[in-house]
């Protein structure tokens, strides 16, 4: 069971507490859709929200980062180094790329997928080993998620992004109803059922006890 210190976003006396969430991954994994659903749910729940990402030259296969900040009042759309509270990493290597944004107590959800960058598949560079262990040693709240497996259980590997959103959702002060409503409103009708299934499986997911 994941230790929950506090539910992020819950007003807890600290009045202007802004929660910072990073979605990182590889172009094509659905990172941007996941963060879009999240900000729509946060808006529904009454938070001030900002989201920032860059599109353009990052074509398919490029590194993608989407930053979401929410709280009573949010100014900067960008997260400061060392102030990221939660990172959802859709791909293992990508988690390493953005560690500057994290602090000791940051929550990391690490999808176990590996996607080889061109320099690795060409045999020029090496894909780092034991990423989970490396992360865990520095950030105790790191959890390995078998996202693709869960997505396949939901019925389609492509709902990986919503599965990971489901995993994240347990740690945010939003009720399940808001999430499901948002999914229903923002996704094309034919994809709603499988995504809701994926979301709920993610929400119930217990990370394996990996040492």
């Amino acid at each position: 069971m994941i230790q929950q210190k506090r539910q992020h976003g819950k007003p807890s006396g600290e009045n202007n507490t802004v929660t910072n969430v990073l979605f990182v991954g590889v172009g094509g994994q659905g990172t941007l859709v996941a963060s879009k659903i999240m900000v729509e749910a946060l808006l529904k729940a009454g938070f001030d929200v900002k989201k920032s990402e860059i599109h353009g030259m990052a074509q398919r296969g490029g590194s993608v980062i989407s930053q979401v900040r929410f709280g009573p009042v949010v100014y900067s759309p960008l997260i400061r180094y060392g102030e990221g509270d939660i990172m959802v990493s859709f791909e293992q290597l990508e988690a390493l790329r953005y560690l500057d944004y994290l602090h000791r107590d940051s929550l990391i959800f690490l999808n176990d997928q590996k996607i080889l960058p061109p320099s690795v598949s060409m045999g020029i560079e090496v894909y780092p080993e034991n990423i989970f262990t490396t992360l865990k040693s520095r950030f105790k709240n790191t959890f390995l998620i078998e996202g693709l497996q869960v997505a396949q259980n939901a019925g389609n590997a492509r709902v990986l992004n919503i599965v990971l959103l489901g995993v994240l959702s347990r740690h945010l002060a939003l009720d399940e109803k808001t999430w499901i409503e948002t999914l229903r409103e923002k996704l094309p009708p034919s994809l709603i059922d499988v995504n809701v299934r994926g979301f709920l499986l993610g929400r119930e997911y217990e990370p394996a006890a990996v040492s």
């Binding site: 590889v26 879009k36 900002k50 599109h55 100014y75 759309p77 320099s119 045999g123």
Partner: protein, 599 residues
């Protein structure tokens, strides 16, 4: 109802609320989504123009006829539109005319980092700069009313961070679209011959003084008082970063970055002890404020280059009110994921052949610019849209006969219509010998697949006239125009070889739809696979730079004694391969074959 909108979506929404009926532009990151988002409003005539100059001229015509017109482009697009831009303020407007420039600090998808605030000063027009999506929407509406009130084109500047960030927007009242009553004759005001223009220039100067006076009481220029030992003058996204960092400072937040509210700045400066100007790119505000005799700190602490973020500002202006974030110094080497031509990209065959032929390739702006990287390594220049064709001609003029067989220009289809035509006309007219390769992938690929005169389909999806490249090039004076299938490497190689050696201008049209072009791309029937036993590890297929082809090292060197040991074999990722067959064409060992498994 409140909505999460990107800055670009908010600008489109603002145009709709302002009653805009005509909108024009040319696609370019980070501005593209403004026009695309306008498509949802059926009452607006939206169109992609061949280039930004045309877009602004169309907008000006619409304005003279009484419509409110929005013209949209990226920062470098304004360079193309600069000719009309610098004279339009002389003739003024009838319906409001707003030009959106989307700047790209950090050059996420651009060739330079120019600061288009200079254009406001250069063209003598007011410029607004929003700092989030709500302001982006509201400022568009304000820009239209300023445009009509002061009888001038008005600019709105965004940056990539504003355009592509989302924040909450409250929709506003929708103003009724003005009924365009048609243009009125007014030659003294509209016909810029010297005698009229001299008078109009005086009017422009008068108008700027009126605008400067207006800026003093413009509500979007505002002071937020707090402690007075630190005063910050800022605008745009930097305002948000600074508010995040300096929680107890006083702010002068500029919604209009040109002309400046001089009295307001002087008043602010008298009240606060130390003044910091926080602005990305050039010291545009800083230099003007210094010229008022006010001491400020800005670029001596903060960089001119690149995009800002809260950390850069906090580090530059030391005493941060929050504990400084520790950045972990040394980074383990993390392999990059650079942008790359997609697996099966039709450009690949052209650049593979150009590399083999060792010609100097004057290039252009588009996905194909990526061919400069190894292993294709076959694009030698990239300056601006259309530049490659002129450069190729310049090279041959410089080295004369030695250029034969050694120079070619490449240009995309959309880029050719944007600003390649005049270059080609020049080469043909001035008896050049260049070979111009038009990479026709049937839409504007780099910015997400917009239509253009070559596709014959309008932005609203209506059927129009598709240009005939053969007739068109012949009309420009090019006698030899040849079409190649870029997936047929032999044909590509031979055609380029013949044409670069032809002592006159010729055009090669490489025609195949981008693999992301849903309308025209037909999937290939098979994937390809490599028989590991047949692969000799020669790496020839890797020279294509296809993301689907990888290298597998063979570590144990003691196997199969007597046979020549190979260092490794190439492998095809079946999930990435789309079956273009180029790798199988370059393999000398017949190791790469169509896979039995259908796609």
């Amino acid at each position: 109802m409140k909505q999460m909108l990107s800055g670009n979506e908010a600008i489109a929404r603002g145009a709709y609320e302002a009653g805009v009926t005509v909108s024009t532009g040319y696609p370019g990151t980070p501005s593209t989504e403004i026009m695309e988002s306008l498509l949802q409003f059926k009452e607006i005539a939206v169109e992609w123009c061949p280039n930004e100059k045309v877009a602004l001229e169309v907008g000006s015509g619409a304005s003279l006829a009484g419509a409110r017109a929005l013209v949209v482009m990226k920062h470098v697009g304004v360079n193309v539109a600069a000719d009309p831009l610098l004279t339009l303020p002389y003739i003024g407007v009838k319906g409001g005319l707003v030009l959106v420039t989307a700047d790209d600090p950090n050059m996420y998808s651009s060739q330079n980092e120019q600061d288009n605030r200079h254009y406001a000063r250069f063209a003598k027009v007011p410029m607004l700069e929003p700092s989030d999506s709500q302001e982006a929407k509201d400022f568009v509406k304000i820009a239209f009313s300023l445009s009509e009130r002061f009888d001038t084109l008005t600019m709105l500047r965004t940056t990539t961070r504003i355009s592509h960030s989302e924040s909450i927007v409250r929709p506003g009242r929708i103003q009724k679209a003005s009924t365009a009553s048609g243009p009125l004759k007014n030659p003294q005001k509209h016909v810029m011959v010297p005698v009229n223009a001299r008078d109009r220039h005086r009017q422009v100067e008068k108008r700027m003084r009126r605008l400067a006076a207006f800026a003093e009481s413009f509500p979007a220029n505002r002071i937020e008082w707090n402690k007075k030992d630190r005063g910050i003058i800022t605008s745009g996204t930097c305002y948000q970063y600074a508010k995040e960092i300096f929680t107890d400072a006083s702010f002068l937040k500029l919604g209009m970055v040109y002309p400046l509210p001089v009295k307001m700045i002087e008043y602010f400066a008298r009240q606060v002890k130390n003044i910091y100007v926080i602005e990305e790119l050039d010291p545009f505000l800083e230099e003007q404020i210094r010229s008022l005799g006010i001491k400020v700190l800005g670029k001596s602490l903060l960089p001119v280059c690149g995009e800002y973020n809260p950390d850069i500002i906090a580090e530059g202006i030391k005493d941060d009110s929050r504990p400084k974030a520790k950045r972990k110094g040394k980074k383990a080497s993390i392999p990059d994921r650079p942008p790359n031509l997609c697996p099966g990209c039709p450009h690949r065959g052209i650049f593979y052949s150009l590399n083999k032929l060792k010609v100097f390739v004057t290039g252009d702006i588009g996905c194909y610019t990526l061919a400069y990287m190894p292993p294709l390594h076959s694009l030698d220049t990239c300056v601006c849209m259309g530049a490659g064709i002129g450069q190729a001609h310049g090279v041959e003029q410089a080295i004369k006969g030695d250029a034969l067989g050694k120079v070619a220009a490449v240009i995309g289809d959309s880029t050719f219509f944007h600003s390649g035509i005049t270059g080609l006309l020049n080469s043909a007219y001035n008896r050049g010998i260049s070979t111009v390769i038009i990479l026709d992938n049937r839409f504007t690929a780099m910015t997400g697949g917009q239509d253009h005169p070559g596709t014959g389909i309008t932005m609203r999806g209506e059927q129009s006239h598709a240009i005939d490249y053969f007739q068109f090039c012949h009309a420009l004076g090019v006698r030899t125009v040849r079409k190649v299938d870029p997936y047929n490497l032999e044909e590509v190689f031979m055609t380029i070889k013949e044409e670069v050696n032809r002592p006159e201008v010729s055009v090669i049209i490489s025609e195949a739809p981008c693999i992301l072009n849903r309308r025209e791309y037909t999937p290939f029937p098979f994937r390809y696979e490599i028989a590991a036993a047949a692969c000799t590890g020669c790496r020839r297929c890797l020279k294509l730079g296809c993301p689907a082809i990888g290298w597998k090292e063979i570590r144990s060197r003691d196997e199969k004694k007597g046979k020549k040991l190979k260092a490794g074999v190439a492998e095809i990722d079946p999930l990435l391969c789309i079956g273009c067959s180029m790798c199988s064409q370059v393999c000398n060992e017949a190791a790469i074959t169509a896979s039995s498994g259908k796609r």
